[in-house]
Symmetry: C2
Subunit: 212 residues, 2 copies
């Protein structure tokens, strides 16, 4: 398909730029309201405390809600509006890259558009795919939306603080993840209470150092 | 765009088929896990109690989880798998229609693929658009995903039983809805406790009778 070929070409160039700047890059995906931004709000201070310089590319259809939430941490952030597209594409990441102080960064995190389908279909030239799931969504989502779960190296199960209030069996969810992805890591967190955010930060920082 | 033109042509034909069979049809949309199927599970018995014959077209990328949940009510249901597409299209609805006993139905409900973007872009030839929002998603979603909210005649706010456990201001959410849609009706429900499902059923039944 011509569109994908063009996209993948730009993705390859993005990947080169990240390598040249010794940057570990992350594609953070998940459905609308799964808590991607909330997790970033807890994660960024941890990264800063560990001496990691992080930049963020915020992808949304409209508005700058998420970009503004990230701005408050004083780190470089670029808000991208797709205007309608349900996913970020490589050329949009290129625009983001051009507006970040790459030479001073160790890490770039891309928060993709809230969507459990389309972002998985577009390579961005980013090193590492994370899907955020939420205990409020239902445990069988990994098999109902298999592509995104299958291409992710890490699945972050969010809102575990709500486990008492919802019908969600963590072990059943893990089983469903394993049906579509045998090797993804799983970490349970709360973007509200900060539970296990330190564990998530350690994991990501370890990956960042591997890429240097 | 050629794809949309072809889709809209089939949508027009679907609309004719519904009219010929005096069927009121609904496009039920919302993000993954917002509770579309749970709402149907509470709504269908109400419709049956009110003498409404309802058929369901279940749209998912993969699996028959939702179709099986609806089957348990003994009503006609067709499970459609897109295999990857993030939305239902008119030709898929045609397939569904061909497998439903239309002459005996008053209503057809289409549960679209869990997605807050793409389903809004594809006409199905269905009478009435409903978007299901969830209090767990965050109050600002209507302005972050404006197209779906703008094309919906009814917004159903679900999981209100969780309002004590989440940071969600119903009045703020309503404000955000009004920014993108001045005339949509709003109904607050719980697909878990059944709260206000009778109100939702009354509203839909009134619409159904208007279409006869
Ligand atoms: N209880 C609880 N609520 C959370 C948690 N994480 C996020 N939320 C809430 O969930 C809602 C959505 O959070 P966001 O961070 O905006 O979600 P998002 O995935 O970034 O949403 P989009 O960018 O629009 O796709 C907000 O009301 C948050 O306060 C959590 O761990 N626990
Ligand atoms: N507390 C609470 N949980 C709910 C409510 N409605 C649905 N749920 C839960 O939310 C999860 C998702 O519900 P579903 O009905 O599968 O959501 P859906 O919108 O049909 O999901 P997709 O078809 O995959 O897009 C399940 O674990 C439900 O039990 C509600 O009103 N309150
Ligand atoms: Mg966000
Ligand atoms: Mg469903």
């Amino acid at each position: 398909e011509n569109l994908f070929a063009k996209n993948d070409e730009i993705a390859g160039e993005n990947a080169k730029i990240f390598v040249e700047n010794q940057i570990f890059s992350i594609n953070l995906m998940g459905s609308p309201g799964s808590g991607k931004t909330a997790i970033l709000e807890k994660l960024i201070p941890e990264l800063i405390n560990n001496g990691i310089s992080c930049g963020v590319i915020e992808g949304d259809i409209a508005g700058s809600f998420d970009g503004e939430r990230i701005e408050r941490f004083g780190i470089p952030v670029v808000q991208i509006n797709t205007g309608g597209a349900c996913h970020l594409e490589a050329h949009m990441i290129r625009k983001g890259i051009e507006n970040l102080p790459l030479s001073g960064l160790d890490m770039v995190i891309v928060e993709n558009v809230g969507n459990l389908v389309c972002p998985a279909e577009f390579k961005l030239g980013v090193d590492f795919n994370i899907t955020v799931a939420s205990v409020t969504e239902g445990e069988e989502k990994p098999v109902k939306y298999p592509l995104m779960y299958s291409i992710s190296e890490l699945i972050v199960l969010n809102k575990v603080d709500l486990l008492n209030a919802v019908e969600f069996r963590v072990e059943k969810f893990k089983e469903y993840v394993r049906q579509v992805n045998v090797q993804a890591e799983l970490i349970n967190v709360s973007g509200k209470t900060g539970e296990n955010i330190k564990i998530l930060a350690e994991y990501i920082i370890k990956k960042t150092k591997q890429y240097e």
